[in-house]
Symmetry: C2
Subunit: 615 residues, 2 copies
């Protein structure tokens, strides 16, 4: 992994653009686009539209193979270059002419403005009919009508042409994705261009149907990952494949079935035909990705934790087992490591972690917790094995965040106020409720900083009323959040046990050790962190105050702790809306440094330091 | 179609290479290779090995995107460039350093020396085992071991990696075709690299299994095209698809089955496993190609005669329905027109028509006859609908060239000497026998120059003995070549009828009109033609003397009329042996001018002129 601040090149965009630092080899077009400098383009950066003309005012930039087709020798001498083909390898000052066309933009991710530049485009063509004097083949005729593009095509598209072009009276719409002609449709269908973004989580899977011509989400659906019966977390699913060779194909089928169901639902709700979806994108962790693609995950599960591939090749949507346009392109986010997967790369893209000047901490809380720390200069990432506490899996009264789950807890004077999902009778406690409960008990003093319930006598003295909730069950001390029957009878009550507190301590210590080591590695101080992004659906429900109080996140002013939402899903949308963002995601893998914690000699010391709750 | 001599650029290779003229845009590497100037290269011209260094001594050549990675700024200023990335757009003088490596070569085609540069290559890799300090994915590890290549890969290859690299103790062989990693094999398999060249004829289909590491043919087999029951020629097969929509899939299946049978035979004979074949190439006419690929051929069959595509995209061997390596690449020769197909482009490549300075005439005699005339400066091509005479299909005693077919005829004094295939009793007459018979009868004077048998009395006077063979059957005059029973009893005899002569006259007039029009179009004289190449299996059997005597070919000294053999099959072999030859085949489509005869106002006049036999 590279990506250190050293070795970057400095680019200044005239007349009034910013000065930015980018890794050498990034195209001027991308560097500009990432930094909000708009340069004309209609081809999507493939060197074919020849619109992205810029002039190098200072610095050396070689002439690309395409430049001589766009400029005269005099212009080349004057420094004119196509920005999409210009790879900066030294500091440059670049003059950007005013825009001729105004691109549309959409807001996605963490307040990210994405200029609409989908890799899918449609062209309506009125072809001339062949004659003995003009015997160009059907395919040549279509290519000639789009001579600004240099296109690949598959034989199955050729197979459709003879009948199609004649039946539609030579009036057709070409469907181009990147540099491939994926289809030719009868008549003018330019108004209908769709894509589907998937967030393939271990627990929950989300699909968003996007209108790529406007950037608007047309329909969103989420369902549980059908692989659930094979284990709640990735390690259990990997183990299942290791114990029985028939499980891998089954898990692949279940993942594909989950996506296929979602596709059916969003298409129906959006009133979009399957063949109108020309591109799909998927963010998932390394294990989910390998299982979906039928790649044996065993080496991901055992040390030294090796993926089959960090970046996947371009695929077809059929490789995901979903029925959309038969030649629709499919993209999988690249991964930084076996436990910092494509979902996190997607999240980092959506939150702009590699472009922001502020020092920010990104935490995706879950069974496996992914952490990133840094800014546009340098970004470090790691994975912390938090265990299942946040999914409330090994918590005595733990349950998924569903109706009846306690999701917030406030202890005020002698009262315990519970927020229950669905305003129902409390049935159990979910991850955010667990964090809240522990946090409030620490605040109340009933839990000491080492994580132990204080002795009964001390509790009775400190909080005579609350202390009545502190009882024992099978020899273990518990704090009852909600009685089921008579107060004092723990039968059926929703409670927090001493062991539950220990589970949470281990989980939060693991995470805190992760970011503390990144802080150290980056050579900064906790106080320098300007924002903490809590990613993932769990992150959205977590109370920032509680997260600070238990030491899950660094002690910062609460407005600096922000729930970032489902950033993995946002990133997947972004790469459908903009081919440039897709390139940025691919580049991220080389920009971000992955730090492996499991072989750090100082890990255990730091971990023990972090077990206690902050004073 | 372009390809006129005008607009070409002149390249002079130092120290002692030739001066050549090539179309602008051709890479220096290709121009050199085509003209026998060897330049170092190991990557096959993909700009990755950076070995093909040359220095521009005179003329301007822009710096390519890859050049700055191969040369210092000083070297670039001195004119150093990578030849494979250098596209000449003006006259140049190029200094070529002496070879560091000596390429192997094979002789194929019409005496063509092909430098062995197959697009398939194998690399034996001993990979380092991953550790916690080196967590590169399996795929990254393989790519890193071949960092001179920039490779694509499919997800199905990724799927094989986790198990394969570990089971083979990290010792593997990578299989690369062009810029794609198509497979990874356990251990060292670098010694086994094979390809199969197909010549998909309307009548006969040939497969050649080639050892791509040595250029040697390992096994060759030919069988009849299984589509035969649907018609002897392309027009009948196209008609069959037009009359019944279920016929196209059937014809595709039959073509695929024919190829699959051949593959089975050559692999068995060559003791090669299917998965050791990494690339296949196919030469076929436009109709055969479309039927094989399941593309509706109707527009090829009716005016204005339009193909679905002139150049086909890269395919997999599975698109041909053959079982070799699952990701083996498959190439189809591009076509110049609906009736000057990939088989002819292959033949032109194999015969070096676009590289030879001599003015040459290429004739592939068949139901549809393809003709090319020209040299390296300018090459014209056309198709002449000769009809089925040469396949002896509408000839009264016509039969295929099989046992019992009269294939040569000599009339000497009073004797008729017949050459019969298999030295059997004559059963009928095949194409070459027909040409011979007519030619000998013209020579004897029994047929006059207008193509009419002379009156009985005149015949009896001219050749009293031979005249006895001139009898009538159902009112039509015939010349008996072989009596079945008693001489004088035409029952069961093998003969040539007056109508047969007319059929042949129409066929040969069509062909002669074709080349006569090309002679006119090119502005040359028949006497300027330095060589006539008779291509195809029929061409090999045709007697040059007879072909001249009936006016099928121009009247030239007989040694100048050469049987070129199965040039279509030779071209298919060439593109497997050399990626450069494949590029040359693709370029041919732009270099050769196609002349459509069917709308020429002077066609009928010329045709009538050509009906008679030459004096």
């Amino acid at each position: 992994m590279t990506g250190e601040g050293v070795g970057r090149v400095r680019l200044r965009f005239l007349p009034d653009g910013p000065e930015v630092r980018v890794p050498p080899g990034v195209s001027l077009f991308d560097a500009a686009s990432w930094n909000g400098v708009a340069i004309d383009s209609t081809c999507g950066g493939y060197g074919t539209c020849k619109k992205c003309k810029v002039r190098i005012v200072e610095g050396e930039l070689p002439v690309s193979a395409v430049d001589p087709r766009a400029f005269t020798p005099d212009e080349l001498r004057d420094g004119w270059r196509l920005a999409c083909r210009a790879q900066a390898s030294c500091d440059l000052v670049i003059d950007v002419p005013p825009l001729q066309t105004r691109p549309k933009a959409a807001t996605v991710g963490v307040g990210r403005q994405v200029i609409l530049r989908p890799s899918v485009q449609k062209r309506y063509l009125e072809l001339s009919e062949p004659t003995l004097q003009d015997q160009a083949s059907d395919l040549e005729r279509i290519f000639a009508a789009m001579d600004d593009l240099e296109l690949r095509v598959g034989v199955d598209v050729v197979r459709t042409l003879p009948q199609l072009v004649r039946a539609s009276d030579w009036k057709v719409t070409a469907v181009v994705v990147d540099d491939e002609l994926i289809g030719v449709e009868a008549g003018d269908t330019t108004g209908r261009i769709f894509g589907i973004a998937f967030d393939l989580g271990t627990t929950t899977v989300v699909a968003t149907l996007l209108d790529l011509s406007t950037g608007t989400p047309v329909a969103v659906r989420s369902i549980l990952n059908r692989q659930q019966p094979y284990g709640a977390d990735v390690i259990r699913r990997i183990s299942a494949t290791m114990m029985d060779p028939t499980v891998l194909p089954k898990l692949q089928e279940l993942a594909q079935g989950t996506l296929a169901d979602l596709v059916g639902e969003v298409l129906e709700h959006g009133e979009v035909a399957p063949e109108e979806v020309y591109e799909v994108a998927l963010a998932g962790n390394a294990t989910m990705t390998q299982l979906l693609l039928g790649v044996d995950p065993e080496p991901v599960g055992v040390a030294p934790f090796i993926m089959a591939a960090s970046s996947y090749p371009l695929m077809r949507a059929s490789d995901f087992g979903v029925t959309v346009h038969p030649r629709a392109h499919a993209h999988v986010f690249p991964a930084l490591g076996a436990y910092v997967g494509g979902d996190i790369v997607s999240g980092l893209l959506a939150s702009g972690m590699t472009r922001d000047k502020r020092l920010r901490l990104f935490i995706d809380v879950g069974t496996n917790c992914e952490i990133a720390l840094g800014n546009a200069e340098r970004l470090l990432t790691t994975a912390a094995p938090a265990g299942p506490a946040f999914e409330a899996a090994q918590i005595r009264c733990g349950m998924r965040a569903a109706d009846g789950a306690v999701e917030t807890v406030r202890i005020k004077d002698d009262e315990v106020e519970l927020g229950v999902i669905g305003d129902a009778t409390p049935l159990g406690i979910c991850g955010s409720g667990l964090v809240d409960a522990v946090s409030e008990l620490v605040k109340s003093g009933l839990l000491d900083h080492s994580g132990r319930f204080i002795p009964d006598e001390a509790a009775a003295e400190l909080h005579p009323v609350l202390a009545e909730r502190l009882v024992a069950i099978e020899g273990e001390r518990i704090f009852v959040l909600a009685w089921a029957g008579e107060p004092g009878d723990p039968e059926g009550a929703v409670y927090l046990s001493q062991r539950d507190v220990r589970e949470l301590q281990f989980a939060k210590a693991s995470i805190a050790t992760g970011w503390a080591l990144l802080v150290e590695e980056l050579g900064v101080k906790v106080a320098d962190i300007q924002q903490v992004l809590l990613a993932g659906s769990f992150g959205s429900y977590l109370s920032p105050a509680s997260a600070v109080r238990i030491g899950l996140v660094p002690k910062l002013a609460l407005p600096r702790i922000v729930a970032a939402g489902n950033v993995a899903g946002e990133g997947a949308k972004m790469i459908l809306l903009s081919a440039q963002e897709r390139a940025a995601a691919a580049a991220l893998v080389h920009e971000v440094e992955y730090v492996e914690l499991s072989d750090r000699p100082d890990f255990n010391d730091l971990f023990i330091d972090q077990l206690a709750f902050p004073a």
